[in-house]
Every structure is written in structure tokens, then in C-alpha cells.
């Protein structure tokens, strides 16, 4: 059966055999870096065109249909346009921070990619605190957004950045707690272990209603954390024109844009890993023959299929719901989601201790 694991071991073996260990490691760094950047660019292009097509489908229109077959090269053309554009820095802006901010946001998105398992035995860094690493690093991106808003010397940007700060810091709690409720079941922060623990069924189905609740909370909270509608207050087109990136243009704007999409991909990948089994095929308990048939579908298809399903969900939200107001947004988190997820965590712990899950 085709597996990406054999490919990676092949490359690894060949490198270590041909070169001294230090040089081999250096080569691996380069290969992984290039692959990560390539994945980044590819994901950006795919997600942008997907968003536009999903939006068009929901809004009874065709969407981009001029560049390439069915408009598939539209986002590539847009990228070229954005690269060609002049990146303006406003006069009153803090030039250093203004130019640094998009890179911080971008780098954070790139770093979080590291522990995600894309397929069986195919991840950049099999770190034993994978989930903790993701939540730690992803909270740095709020600094980039605050920096962008504050250094722009624009009142709209400042308001957008402040909203975004309040929002991301609060919703991180819910994300953390709902992630924790799966961690108590698996007993490991390693992403590979979490995936392997779902060999006989995904946690969403195995752990009864508490898992369902934490899944719903997770989806709501990550939508807020990635600043997507209905929680897109930091951009809030009709209120703050473009929020924290009002003053950005050209490729600097594109980096924010790209980082937003990569962040969506990452949170959906995490969601798929925790609740829907990551690259693990759909298995039901000990139905050996059924599980065997499912195994024929390559693991990376499972992973990307689940991730894109969640991405579609989040896009669906964006094109359906109106935006919340800033106080309602914080109320939702502090008065509803946080208490519910706390109680849910306790219930989940009980389930884990008693072994009530399948």
C-alpha cells in the first residue's frame, strides 16, 4: 500500500548514508523548509479559491470563472498582482514595527505547522508536547496583530487591533479547555499518540456527549480565534473598513491574508486530529473487514479530507451569519462557552477515569 512513511525513511536513509550526520541534518532542514513553504503557498492558493467558490455557491452566483479552467488560476493571478503592487508605509506609522508585524503573523502560522501529522509517519517534528506547542505558539500571533494595528497610526486599525486582542485572548481559554478534554482521554500531548488512540473509532463518537460538546465549543472558539465571521470584529468591514490591516497594501497585506488562511487550515487540522482521528481511517471497534476496507484509502486523503470538511464548515459560517457586537462576543465567551467547557472538562475527566468511553 502506498505510504508517505516509506518515502520519508528512504530520503532519511539515503541522506545519512551519503553525508556526514551534520550535513545530512542540514539537508533535511532545507528539504523540510522548502516543503513547508511550498505547502504554505499551495494552501494559500487553494483555500482562497475554495473560499470564493464556496461563497459563490452559497450566494447563487458563479464566482471567479475567467482565469484558467473554471477560474482555478484566479488566486495565482491575484498573487502576482499583489507581489507587483507597491507596499506603502504610511508617514505617521512606526516603520519598523509596521513592516515587522506581517512577518510575525506569518512566522507564527508557519511554526504551528511543525507538529501536525499530515499522514501516517509524515510530520515535520514529532514532538512529545505537540498540542501544548500548538496552543503556545498560536497565541503569539495576537502580538503581530496588535503590533500591526498600533503601529499603523490609524484609529480604525487601533480599534481593530484592540478588539482582536480581547477576542483572541478570551477565546484561547475555550480552545484550550476543549483540547484538554481530549487530552484527558488520551493521556498524551503527542499528536501521533492522539491519532493512534483513535484506532478503534474517533473520539467524537467514542466519548459520548462531552466530546460532542467540546467539539462544538472548539469549532466556535477557533472561528473566533482566527478572526473569521461571525467573529471578524477585528476586520469588521462595515464598521472599521478593514480593521487592523487597513493601512497595509501589496504583499504585506497578502501576508496577513495568507496567514489567516493558514491559521484556518491549522486549527481545522488540529480539530480533525483531536476529534476526527487525524490521518486515522474511519474505524468501527472490531469490525475487522470494514476497518480493512477503510485502510485502503491513503492516510493523507483521510487527513486532508477531514481538515477540508472542517474548513468548509467555517466558511459556511462566514457566509451565513451576521457579525456579533463586541460586548456580545465577550459575553458569549465568558458567560457561556467558558463555564460550559469547564463543566464539560470535569465530566470528561469522570468519563476518562471510569473508562465509560468505548
Amino acid at each position: 500500500m502506498f505510504s508517505l512513511e516509506s518515502l520519508t525513511t528512504l530520503v532519511q536513509d539515503w541522506l545519512t548514508k551519503t553525508f556526514p550526520p551534520a550535513v545530512a541534518l542540514l539537508f533535511e532542514f532545507v528539504i523540510v523548509g522548502v516543503l513547508a513553504i511550498a505547502l504554505f503557498a499551495a494552501l494559500g492558493l487553494v483555500l482562497v479559491i475554495m473560499e470564493r467558490k464556496v461563497a459563490a455557491w452559497i450566494q447563487i452566483r458563479l464566482g471567479p470563472n475567467r482565469v484558467g479552467p473554471k477560474g482555478m488560476f484566479q488566486s495565482a493571478a491575484d498573487t502576482v498582482k499583489l507581489i507587483m503592487k507597491e507596499g506603502l508605509t504610511p508617514d505617521g506609522a512606526d516603520k519598523f514595527l509596521f513592516n515587522l508585524a506581517p512577518f510575525i503573523v506569518m512566522m507564527v502560522a508557519m511554526l504551528v505547522l511543525a507538529p501536525i501529522g499530515f499522514a501516517k509517519g509524515f510530520h515535520i517534528w514529532d514532538i512529545n508536547i505537540g498540542v501544548l506547542y500548538v496552543s503556545a505558539i498560536s497565541s503569539v500571533s495576537v502580538i503581530g496583530i496588535l503590533m500591526a494595528g498600533w503601529s499603523s497610526n490609524n484609529k480604525y486599525s487601533l480599534l481593530g487591533a484592540m478588539r482582536s486582542g480581547a477576542q483572541m485572548v478570551s477565546y484561547e481559554l475555550s480552545v484550550g479547555l476543549s483540547v484538554l478534554s481530549i487530552i484527558v482521554l488520551t493521556g498524551s500531548l503527542n499528536i501521533n499518540d492522539i491519532v493512534l488512540s483513535q484506532q478503534n473509532g474517533w473520539w467524537l463518537f467514542k466519548a459520548h456527549i462531552p466530546a460532542l460538546i467540546s467539539f462544538v465549543i472548539f469549532i466556535i472558539a477557533v472561528t473566533a480565534e482566527t478572526n473569521r465571521a461571525p467573529f471578524d470584529l477585528s476586520e469588521a468591514e462595515s464598521e472599521l473598513t478593514a480593521g487592523f490591516h487597513t493601512e497595509y497594501s501589496g504583499m504585506k497585506f497578502a501576508l496577513f491574508f495568507l496567514a489567516e488562511y493558514i491559521n484556518i487550515f491549522i486549527v481545522c487540522a488540529i480539530g480533525a486530529t483531536l476529534f476526527l482521528g487525524g490521518w486515522m481511517p474511519f474505524h468501527i471497534g472490531n469490525w475487522e473487514s470494514f476497518n480493512h476496507i477503510m485502510d485502503y484509502i491513503p492516510t493523507f486523503i483521510w487527513f486532508f479530507g477531514k481538515t477540508f470538511f472542517l474548513i468548509f464548515l467555517i466558511m459556511w459560517f462566514r457566509w451565513t451569519f451576521p457579525r456579533l457586537r463586541v460586548d456580545q462576543l465577550l459575553n458569549l465567551e465568558w458567560k457561556y462557552l467558558l463555564p460550559i467547557s469547564m463543566v464539560n472538562l470535569i465530566v470528561m475527566t469522570l468519563v476518562a477515569i471510569q473508562g465509560w468511553h468505548f
Binding site: 484609529k155 465571521a229 468591514e237 473598513t241 451565513t320 451569519f321 457579525r323 456579533l324 457586537r325
Partner: protein
Amino acid sequence: MVEEIGKTAEGDLIINVGPQHPATHGVLHLVITLNGETIKKVEPHLGYIHRSIEKMCESLTYRQFIYSTSRMDYLSAHINNHACALTVEKGLGIEIPARAQVIRVLMDELTRIASHELWWGAMAMDLGAFTPFFHAFRERESINDIMEETCGARLTMNYMVPGGVMMDLHPNFQNRVKTFLKLYKLKIHEYDELVTGNIIFQNRMKGVGYLSKEAAISYGVTGPAARGSGVSCDVRKLYPYEIYHQLQFDEILETEGDSFARYMVRLREMNESIKIIEQLIDNIPDGDFQAKTKAVLKLPKGEFYQLVETARGELGVYIVSEGGTTPYRIKFRSPGFSNLSCLDHITRGGKIGDLIASMGTLDLVIPDIDR
């Protein structure tokens, strides 16, 4: 906190919303004073799209000046033309043929629906939901097609002239309107499912932008915005013109006075317009579509005033004539200007998001305010 609202203090944020801003739907300029996210003061600045239509009208004849009024409230172009035509007819004492009257009312109500459709889409867009805009345009497009067929234009129709309408209805008119009615009834429930029933939408609208009945009257607010506060002000009911007194329809009143009430008034008003169209579409009398008028119209010396109900409220046309071929003075009482005046009152103490939501429910059309 309450005393602080309305006064500016050190550290307040003063923001210019507009003249170019996605939420003002035109070149309205609001200077808002903020304390954090809370609004302390809203100060509208006008004049960015002032074309001095009133002054221009003074040098145009009574047949010509109607065309420039399509550009005032471009979403109710028919109704603006209607008001001007009515004023001139009043001055000249022209009897309008029954067919023309029915056609005028039909066109008015179609315009009203089209205008409310656009408002509904734009309103949802202000609140951050993009999809309703396209759904609203699906229905609005078929009204525009009807207009295009009969009047030759989709937005600035210039169809109503002193004495009746410019040309007869297109032979397809009745069929197309009936098709539109069918489409509308098929799709109207989507409006409630997608937006009205949405919990986020209701939270954003209910209890926000409160306008009391007294305040509505004292600010001179008219139209659906005032009817949301329980002020009975439908000109079609109170001062009926054309054949409105023979038609069965209700004046929609809501008493809550918040943004949601204003929203509901407009949604329900569309159904009333549908009711009017249904009553008339099969009963268009035969006959002339235009009364016989002189080639050059000369209003007798005096003052003439006529009120109509546009999609936004009460539009008054005031003509002072010296007996010549052109008016001595024309004044339009546009609904948008008075409706805008209450914006500061209803948004103080709210959040920026509330300002956008309340402004959306006032249904402002900027060229109507500035003229």
C-alpha cells in the same frame, strides 16, 4: 457615565466615518466621538453630493424638472417623479385618466418593494452578513427587468409626466408582474430563515437604537423609521392621493421603537405592497395613459404642495409659481434628511456596531439627503 455622554473629554477618540466608508452607502460623513467602543456623539456632515437640484429645477420647465428628481432618491425614482407630476397637475387642475392612475400606483409599489429589497440586503451587509445581499438582488432584478421593459430604464425611470405616464405599459407587463409575484412568494420565507430568525441578528437589533414616539415626532422622522416607533404617518392612508383610498392595505405599525421594529416594519410593508399589486394587476382599466395637456405648461401664480409616501417616508414637493413656464422656487422636503437628524439621538451610548445597525435601519440614501 451617562452625564459624560455628549461631552467630549481628554482622551476621546474622534473618528471620521466617511465620506468614503463601506457602511454609509454613499458619501455621508459622520464625525463620531468615542470613548473606547462607546459612542458619545455622532455629528453628520453633509454636502458631498450636493448637486443643487432645487436651484436647477428653477431654470427648467414644468415638463423638464421632473427628470432631475429621479436623481434625488434614486431608489424611489418613480415616487419622486410621481410627487412632482402630482404637484404640477394640482396646479393645472388636470384630471388624470383612470388607467394612468392605476399604472402609477403599480409602479410606485413595485418601486417600494425594490427599494426595500435593496435596503434589506444592505442592512444585512452592514451587520456583516454578505449572502442576503445577493438573495435580495435576485428578486430586485426581476422588478428592474419589469421597469426596463416598460420605462426603458432600470434606475432613473422618468416615467411619470404631468398628465399621466410617458408611454403605455409593455404588453408583457401583466405576465411579468405575475411571475414576479409568484417568485416573491416562493422566496420571501428565505428572508426570515436567513436573517430575521437568526439569533445573532436579533441580538444585534433588539433594544438597539431606541427612538421613542415623542422623539420620532419631534425630529420629524417619517416613513418606516417612524412607524417602527408607533407613529402613524403613512401618507397613503392619511392624505390619500391617486387611488390609494380605494385600495385594501394596512398601515404597518410597530411600537417597540428599536432597530428590530424598524426592520420588521419594512419587511411587512413589502407584503402590503404585494397586496396592493395583486388588487390592481388584473384590474388595469382601458383608456388613455395620459391626459391631453398643452405643449407648454404654465402654472398659475401661487404656491402648490403635494405629499407622497416614498420608500423612506414623506416626500413633499413645494412649488412657488409666478405664472411663468418655470417655477419661481422649488423645495423638496426629503425624508432622508429628517430621518438622519435622529441618528445622534438614537446611537448615543451605544457601540460602534450599534451605530452601523441603527444607521442601516434608517435606510438613508445620501443623494436624497443632499439633493
